[in-house]
Amino acid sequence: MSEQLISENKTLFTPFNVIAGIIVIIGLVITFLRFTKGLGTVTNLSDTSPWGIWIGFDLMCGVALAAGGYTVSSACYVFGMKKYHAAVRPAILTAFLGYATVLVSLVYDVGRPVRLAMAYPFVVQQGTTSLLFEVGLCVMIYLSVLFLEFTPIPLEWLGLKKIRNIMIKLTMVLTIFGVVLSTLHQSSLGALFLIAPSKLHPLWYSPYIAVYFFVSSIIAGLSMVIFEGTLSHKAFHGKMDKTYLEEHDPLVLQFGKAASLVLAGYFSIKIIGIAADNNWHLLVTPYGLWFLVELLGFVALPCFLYAIGARDKNLKLIRFTAGWTVFGIVLNRLNVSLIAFNWQKPLSERYIPSLMEIGLSVFMVTALIIAFKFIATNMPVFHEHPDYKETH
């Protein structure tokens, strides 16, 4: 008995668990403060900076980085890359958890979360001229689609063959719905800022901003699948079946190549954007240099690195570039929503996140990782059939 206890304690207090535990405790404290004392106590939000990192990071980046779901499922089911079937499940899981996290973050961020939960914009009064209406509607439906796309796993598990087969038959329709909904809300997240030309720096404000957000979400999706696959490899290697492992390396190569191609297109249309607004002269201002850091360092460079990696079949380089690109997408979303927003204001009037805001964002990411870890450990994500679980 005592021996068992000790061994259990040993497995419980891993460095990951200890750090995650501390973060969760801090997160719960912030949660308590947020819902009892209000946004003012917890955040540095102001009347001129009404959106902070809970929108700029949790929502904007969360949705972009969850794009792997529609990217992989459409590549596999619509564009005929059936070879990469094994990557679909982890991508769908990541997307589902990502969107769920986004929704939870919104519950923290909006002033009247109960009304959000009661779907006021869709049930009580419809503000159809708002792009946020469209984003909300699409995210809500897409979350349901992701859920349906994920149901074959529990259904297989429970042995409900009939329903499972119906769900599998629906895969195509669900995938197409997923792509339509993702196209809409990924682009509309960028279009949210179309209303504020006087606040967002002209280099980031563009009539093409919706297209930029959509195209970069594909890049984010492809890169996240590689990046997340690399991390999962380290954590869940034992859980992965032969199919997944065999398909993984060619997938990394192919996705790296695809990401390089899309990045090249993205780079081109970003240049077109500067020309369309005649913003060349702004490139030599401090904000212009920062824009160039993003454009050259996190679009052109990863495009080139991915290309080298794909040419030389250098998986290590592709994996590194995937991480780099993911960081670049995060940087872009933060630039649009926070860094280049209110750019004309002096630093003293600018928004800088409070420690508690950062704490809660870290808490959200940690909660997502814990949920992913739990599901990937206990459910058939990286191997095909739960029935064959024992054989692995």
Binding site: Q126, G127, T128, T129, L137, V173, F177, V180
Partner: protein
Amino acid sequence: MEHTFYTLQEFMLHTESVTYIILAIILLGVLGFWLFLTEYDD
């Protein structure tokens, strides 16, 4: 009796609301049409 809209906002609120209703019909219709189109496929 065409309703007169005095502001673009009011006009768009009307047209967008109608659009969203049509979109819901389109999405359901597409599903039905797809099933109709491919009914006899193997």
